[in-house]
Amino acid sequence: MFSDFIELIGAFVLVLAILQITSDRLYFSIKVYAVQSFFVSISILSIGIYSSSFDLYVSSFLTLVIKTFIIPYALFKTIDEMKIKREIKAFVNITNSLLVISAIIIFTFLLTRYINIGGSVIAKEIFPISLSIIFIGAFIMVSRQKPITQLIGFLTLENGIMLVATSVTYGMPLIVEIGIFFDVIVGATMASLIIHHINHDIDDMDATSLSDFKE
């Protein structure tokens, strides 16, 4: 019963990740990310209640604060400063992206049937779901041209990792999780800064033009 609930939450996260692929507006992408993070924090919180583990409360709270509020806020600021609303110059257009990620999801579900997870598992189906989210995030990073969308792809990927780490087993040690949060915060801040500078210096928000700097 409880595992069904967790799997439902996981399904929401996956659906939001698919929605992320279809969005071609930056504001919308960031909002999707914020909601996705919210669901991840709910998932962590419920596991925390279920297993009455203090570490998971802290982790859930941090997810909520950092990923649902701080990072989206910072990204909104960046976008406002750069005055870009529409972007998504994709290598792979939205329709084809959807085809690709449906293939990815089928692939991960097939793949995880062969994996035997030892120990106590809360929700087995979370594993293929979060693996799909990780691959979707990676796919966004590969297929989108603008650095800010790539950053969102990375954040999605990170959400997938968070989900699999907390929901399949009972979470990582707190110190590791806090470390990951710091990584994400620093990564997001750095990326916003760098994106800002790229935009300022070469008047083009496009990672493909970075290859002009090659040697």
Partner: protein, 663 residues
Amino acid sequence: MLIYIFLMVLPVLFFLKSKAAFIVQAFSSLALLIFSAVLLLKHEYNSIFMFHSSLPYLDFSIKLDSLSLLFVMIISTISLGVSAYSLNYVYDEDYHHKRLFAFIYTAFIASLLFVVTSFNAISFLIFWEIMSTLSFFLVIYNYENEENRQGGFLYIFMTHLGTAFIMVAFILMYLKTGSFSFENWVHVELDSSTKFWVFLCVLIGFGTKAGMFPLHVWLPKAHPVAPSNVSALMSGVMIKTAIYMMIRFYFYFLSDIPWWYGFIVLLLGSLSALFGVMYALAQHDLKRLLAYHSIENIGIILMGLGSAMLFNSNHMPLLASFGLLAAIFHTYNHAIFKSLLFLGSGATFLKTHTKDMEKYGGLIKLMPYTALFFIIGSISISALPPFNGFVSEWLTYQSLLLNNKIDINIIHIFVPLFASMLALTGAFAAACFVKVIGISFLGSPRSDGAKNANEVGKYMIWGMGFLAALCVLFGLFSHIVIALVAPITSLLLGVDVSSSTSSHLFMISTPNFAFGHLSTLGLSIGFAVGIFILYILIKKFGNTKTRMCSTWGCGQLNNDASNQYTASGFSQPIRRIFAFFYHPKEKIYPTLRKKKYFFPTLEYKAHSHDGVESVYTLVLKVFVKSSAYLINLIENGSIHIYLLYILITSIAFLVYAVRGGVN
């Protein structure tokens, strides 16, 4: 034992006073030489010094057994002569940063000594790398010169290639024995495939360092550009450390080797010998010529080694010890006379400011001592009696001819061929040094530099004189060396070579089979008496009318130095005969364009091409081109492609893990 280590590192401490460092180096070398000789002759060795570090596998152990002691003797002999020489040379050439030079120089000699005494694979590799790196710095010491840098880079590249193979051999031995200590490697039992790979890796790895054909390409590039005292050390001593390890592996570590291992070594040795001497003949840069002669002599050493291996695999320890004696004796001799020749070439270079032989001439009158020592070295390297080169090459011959005792058909067919190749090598070497002596020391000066040359400083003369004296000593009284080598053969093969080779005083004979006897002392006395008688006869009955004219003037009384016989002229017939081998490029062209029709000034340039080098160049070119293309294809600079690589890799690993790669 501790005294030994102290003596090895002592000179390095004095590097702030460069002159003191050279003096201390000379004296500590002398002390090491005497100590080692005494220890060897009194059979007091095998002492071991261990130092365990806290890092896993990293143990330093130093052991003096008879083989190490002999190589310590070789190194300290040469470093004694060269250090004395450096006392003048480094200051007359006026190298910048003399302290740095003294530091690298003394540390290089210390690392050489540690290489031959290390008794642990890891500590051996550490000192081996220190040795390679320091010698690289010495090669590029005059780094302002483009040619020096190129030679240095080729050298460091080749030497690391060799080290890679050495490491593979060591790791194979470690996997089989579970230990890095040489103690546990002695006569280890290996299956035949491992044995073959160890043999091959050792041959390639140490062959690169020794300058064996076809891995010699770095040698003629690196040796000429190094300072002369350094080339003397590198050519005389450093390439011998590779021979040392080959002996250790093939006679001490590996047991029951198949006969064709020895055959391969013999074949490569004879090819190196012939190849080296033929290219030496075509050179007119004196130091490059000597570098090619190093390849030749390494070849001769390998021939002795190979024939000893053949005997050893056929269980003829007495004859094997004889072959080993030939190889080690030639190693010692080559170290002595090659350093002597490099020092001599350094002296001429110092005074004439050119390495081109065509610009020398008449130096025997201006630099009599240098010329005398150089001629002694030349006679030794050309294997003419009564000097040391002759004795060891004679031993090599005998050892090769005795190979007929082995009952294998291929050996019966090939051994006379190898022996005749050795003979051809000797003849070419003699021709080559007739050219060197004739062109550079006789005749009249061909350039202003040669005209203004004068004798070098006294320490340089002492250094060269010491080595020249050893050439004579080892030639006339070769029993000294046989007595020194005897403990080695009893260590490696269980047979004392000295008991079977010396039947009478001052006479060497081949063991068991009365195949040949040699007494250089008797030979030289007979020779002297013969010359004296001939002289008397000519005085008495010959045509006493004499006419004085300049050397190489072809009997004409002209005074123009450019009319003399030249080095390229001397070797021209051989270049023509072996044109298929040299691929010579000869060209005559007018130096000044406008005088093309009226009294043109012509210049003649002959250039011979090292065939092996062009093969290397071709391979490298193809490799670099294709790898550059591949790199360009893979690293195309797009972040998205890089991310895609990461994605694909992680998916591939996932599939691999699921598919049963990891349980």
